[in-house]
Symmetry: C2
Subunit: 198 residues, 2 copies
Amino acid sequence: MYLFEEYGFHGVTVNQIVEKVGTSKGGFYHHFTSKDELLYVIHDTFITYALKKARIANETYQSPTKKLQAIIKSFVKVFDLYKPHIFVFYQEHIYLKDNYKQLIKDKRDQFKQIIIQAVREGKEAGEFRKELPTEITGMAILGMVNWTYKWYKQSGNYTIDEIGDIYVDLILHAILVKDACTESTYEQLLIEKPFFMR
Amino acid sequence: MYLFEEYGFHGVTVNQIVEKVGTSKGGFYHHFTSKDELLYVIHDTFITYALKKARIANETYQSPTKKLQAIIKSFVKVFDLYKPHIFVFYQEHIYLKDNYKQLIKDKRDQFKQIIIQAVREGKEAGEFRKELPTEITGMAILGMVNWTYKWYKQSGNYTIDEIGDIYVDLILHAILVKDACTESTYEQLLIEKPFFMR
DNA sequence: TCATACAGACCAACTAGTCGGTCTTATGAT
DNA sequence: ATCATAAGACCGACTAGTTGGTCTGTATGA
């Protein structure tokens, strides 16, 4: 699992995998039909979990602003739980076989749509700036958060929860309408106080 | 070149490369010592160019706000010129041999530091919000911009220049101090009018 | 005539996947 | 309790196919 993070999917042989896990070639192919299936399983466990969490966050709040916060905060937590999965997910997805790739793409698109939809609703509700294009803004948010997998270390100066607070703060300042940003109403929009305001 | 984008570095054989380019195994190995060297050359041509552009942008402006804008706008333009390179750069760097990897990492770090330094200066100059942690904010900006390679198509609804405008707008709203954001001074801080304000 | 650019058959090394066989455990009849 | 039986879990030497890289040879032009 951590092997992939260092050498990539093609840089790790099945022999290395089974050695690390303490099983054998036979054992491996008893559980997986192919190395490609393992790749799929890794992808699927992560995206399924992330999608579930995003849906819950999405349904818990009414206001788009709070929705967005909850989605981001819950997603960011996944980095602590599924770091190696996430690495494989963003790094090795090109190597998925076509049928597997489609299954993953569907779930990935659903996740993307949850974010974009939140932005759309925010604009309609007058909470987010209307001059921002919905899709690009959504992708910008996604990019900022997703990129975390490239540099986040659990041993770093900030916990993943703190990083999540910063992201939420950056994003809200970026997209909220002026009034919401300047007045003291900003704090009322938060679902929880970020660490740097405590 | 475009082959890598579809199949990944390990998914493309040297035979496929030479066939596509219209040369031969002998021709290929006359110009490159190994497939790994080709991978390095692709990495290096991109990061060298991007770094040069960032340095120019960095030296052209004094105000950190304008610096940051110029860096982002110039970097985003690279997506049109070096799309396939960028894909390889972010997707296949784990497969670089150690000595090559180090050379690339050095330049990559330099690029990262230019952005982080701009954020630092902005905070010191009182232009950016002081409560934001410098490194995380820098990485958030980088992530938002870099992620573009995952979804940007030249045939899309927005040009890369327009996308750059949006990024700059999002980032500035995210990190500028309140005053700069609310008052009409915002427009004065821009190095050029973004497309959606024209 | 020599250096450089290129061609393509060939090779050594490596890897995903197989397959005959062994070990473990659950069951059920005695 | 004991043992026969069977099914599933697991083992690892082996194979067929692939791939990066080599090497000998040829063409071109200065």
